[in-house]
């Protein structure tokens, strides 16, 4: 029981990060049909820039460093769209995959040169001791991660359902051409989708670094896991991705705890392969019929 509680707690924390990355994937995908393989680099940037500001320079307190790191990452996200993704035909899948992976290697390379190859970490947001629940010791930073996830989920719901711009993004996701006809500036929507998912990724990175540490090369695996989370929830649904991420985190933690810690990383891919074969539209997605 104690073990189980511990695994669930760490699974939910880990899952929250996948959820935030996955939601970013879903937001960009639904706006532009682009799978952004550089999504994991946003997480890395969020953590690395915060660490640089707080630890290396010692200039800023966390309260200021985190928003600034998110802002930097958002700018990188916009640049990624503007200078790479917007320059190619979105229907060419291989081209999109290569250009977003190229961008992720470039981002990684720049961070490697500027900030170095070593691991970075900074203290938790609040320094109270671990919380004891059902015999499990829960890191307070985990509560920050989960709390933020809840706030993000509510925020996304409000944004997409109750703001004009959010509705414009949903309209573009449905049909870019129809959206354009009713006067929505689709290009702005695309820029916004990259900015928003960069912000989500950076937030995830800033939140999780006190728990997991960060390095210039953590983005790749996080990106792949986030992609799997999105697929689990049904490609293109931000809420589905949030659920998929949590599920994936739980599955990894339980498999890691009870079956084999060495194969923890394989869980995401096994789940996704099984799902794709049995239920290709994702757990919560609906099958799209192909018209001839």
């Amino acid at each position: 029981m104690q073990d189980l509680a511990q695994f669930v707690a760490s699974g939910l924390t880990r899952g929250a990060i996948y959820a935030l990355v996955g939601a970013g994937f879903a937001i960009i995908y639904s706006a532009s049909n682009v799978i952004n393989f550089a999504q994991g680099e946003f997480v890395m940037l969020g953590g690395m820039v915060t660490a640089y500001l707080v630890v290396t320079t010692g200039l800023l307190p966390l309260v200021l460093a985190v928003p600034l790191a998110v802002l930097v990452t958002v700018l990188v996200g916009i640049a990624l769209y503007r200078f790479a993704v917007a320059q190619v035909e979105p229907s060419r899948l291989a081209t999109i995959i290569i250009i977003t992976i190229g961008s992720s290697i470039l981002i990684r390379g720049v961070v490697e040169v500027v900030l170095g190859k070593r691991e970075f970490v900074y203290p938790a947001f609040t320094d109270t001791g671990p919380l004891h629940l059902f015999g499990a010791a829960i890191d307070v930073q985990s509560l920050w991660v989960l709390g933020t996830l809840v706030l993000v989920a509510i925020g996304l719901k409000l944004f997409f359902d109750h703001t004009l711009f959010g509705k414009a993004m949903r309209a573009t996701a449905q049909s870019p051409m129809a959206a354009q006809l009713v006067g929505i500036d689709v290009r702005n929507v695309l820029v916004a989708s990259f900015a928003l998912s960069a912000a989500l990724g950076a937030l995830a990175g800033a939140l999780v670094t006190p728990i997991t540490l960060t390095r210039f090369d953590v983005g790749l695996m996080l990106g792949l896991k986030g992609f799997a989370a999105t697929m689990l929830g049904g490609l293109g649904s931000a809420y589905g991705a949030l659920a998929g991420g949590l599920l994936l985190g739980l599955a990894e933690a339980l498999a890691g705890g009870y079956i084999s810690s060495g194969y923890q990383d394989a869980v995401a891919f096994l789940l996704i392969l099984g799902l794709l074969v049995l239920r290709p539209a994702g757990l919560f997605g609906r099958v799209k019929l192909e018209r001839v």
């Binding site: 995908y29 799978i35 200078f83 790479a84 320059q87 190619v88 035909e89 060419r92 899948l93 291989a94 081209t95 995959i97 290569i98 250009i99 992976i101 190229g102 961008s103 992720s104 290697i105 470039l106 981002i107 990684r108 390379g109 720049v110 490697e112 040169v113 790749l220 792949l224 992609f227 799997a228 697929m231 490609l235 060495g262 194969y263 990383d265 394989a266 995401a268 891919f269 096994l270 996704i272 392969l273 794709l276 074969v277 290709p280 001839v292």
Partner: protein, 336 residues
């Protein structure tokens, strides 16, 4: 009045993918001759073992790319997991002799056969998927194989990699890199010949047909699922055999050979060279394999350089080098 004609099965369906038919005399054969000439003359430009080593790496990657191009360029599928087949070939070639005492060459062939059967089995469910879903599935498959190679330390040596025993033929160790250059160069010619052969056959046309429209292809009698499974298996065998050659020539394999980024590298090579062009696959393999060697002196900036190259080629050469060039010359010919 109605005459019932005997049902003739479509040849594309019945013929095996590798059915031998001599390449038509003409442009395809002339291209192959040029390739042989280039491979034969290239050593004139090599002055040391390092040059040979790079050339061997290029040739090995070229074999993978020629196979992958059949799947991606011709049949219009995508794979983000082919490095795993490459690595399976390399590890099989290293491990079967080490652990089971099998002779090396049968070990390589057995590995290729097993990889081919495995690929054909997984291809059926996976290749039903399209686009991003297919990308995710192949990525997942490749990642699982890569994780297994990393974790089964007792068997594979884990992340540190594995030293491959030298190939011994008739009691003689085949070690010199110059010898391996000859072997892999022959390998490239055979790979290109078989691929071009396939492309100019009914099966090849069937692949192109299912690329443009699966529904149209199946209404004209092409077994789409089977065609896709066969070309997936064929490209996996190409990758596996290239992996075997790589293991013998380089004498060292690591799980990084199976990594996602390595799969992306192969995909980038064929896109850079030009999807659907066998010779484009060779050009792409050559350029992208040589590139990191150029940046070897400034290793610190390697990632930046590679990232930039990937972005810039996608922006400025989205169709790839060879189709762009042949497009230019074709236009020049039309407008004298």
């Amino acid at each position: 009045m109605a005459t019932t004609e005997p049902v003739v099965p479509n040849r594309a369906v019945t013929e095996p993918l590798t059915a031998f038919r001599p390449l038509p005399v003409g442009v395809p054969l002339a291209r192959l001759a040029v390739l042989c000439l280039v491979l034969a003359l290239a050593p004139l430009a090599f002055s040391n073992a390092f040059h040979y080593d790079v050339a061997v790496k290029i040739a090995v990657n070229a074999i993978v790319c020629v196979g992958l191009n059949l799947l991606v360029g011709y049949a219009g599928q995508i794979s983000l997991g082919h490095a795993a087949f490459f690595a399976l070939g390399a590890y099989g070639t290293a491990l079967l002799p080490l652990r089971l005492g099998l002779p090396a060459i049968p070990a390589a062939l057995l590995t290729a056969a097993v990889v081919g059967v495995f690929a054909a089995l997984v291809a059926r469910p996976i290749l039903k998927l399209k686009g991003h879903y297919l990308a995710m599935a192949t990525l997942g498959l490749g990642s699982i194989i890569s994780i297994v190679l990393n974790r089964e330390i007792g068997l594979t040596g884990g992340p540190d990699g594995l030293t491959v025993p030298a190939l011994v033929i008739g009691g003689v160790k085949v070690r010199a890199i110059e010898t391996w250059y000859v072997v892999v160069a022959v390998g490239v010619v055979v790979a290109v010949y078989l691929a071009e052969n396939l492309i100019h056959s009914p099966s090849g046309r069937a692949l192109r047909a299912l690329h443009s429209s699966e529904i149209a292809a199946s209404t004209s009698g092409i077994d789409v699922a089977r065609g896709k499974a066969r070309v997936f298996a064929l490209s996996a065998v190409y990758a596996s055999l290239a992996g075997s050659l790589f293991a013998w020539a380089e004498r060292f394999v690591t799980p990084a050979d199976a990594s996602f980024l390595h799969s992306v590298e192969f995909l980038t090579m064929i896109v850079l060279g030009g999807l659907g062009s066998t010779y484009g696959a060779l050009v792409g393999a050559g350029l992208l394999t040589a590139l990191p060697q150029v940046f070897a002196g400034v290793a610190e900036y390697k990632n930046i350089a590679i990232g930039l190259v990937l972005i810039l080629t996608m922006v400025f050469l989205p169709r790839g080098i060879v189709p762009t060039l042949t497009g230019l010359t074709a236009r020049g010919r039309r407008r004298p």
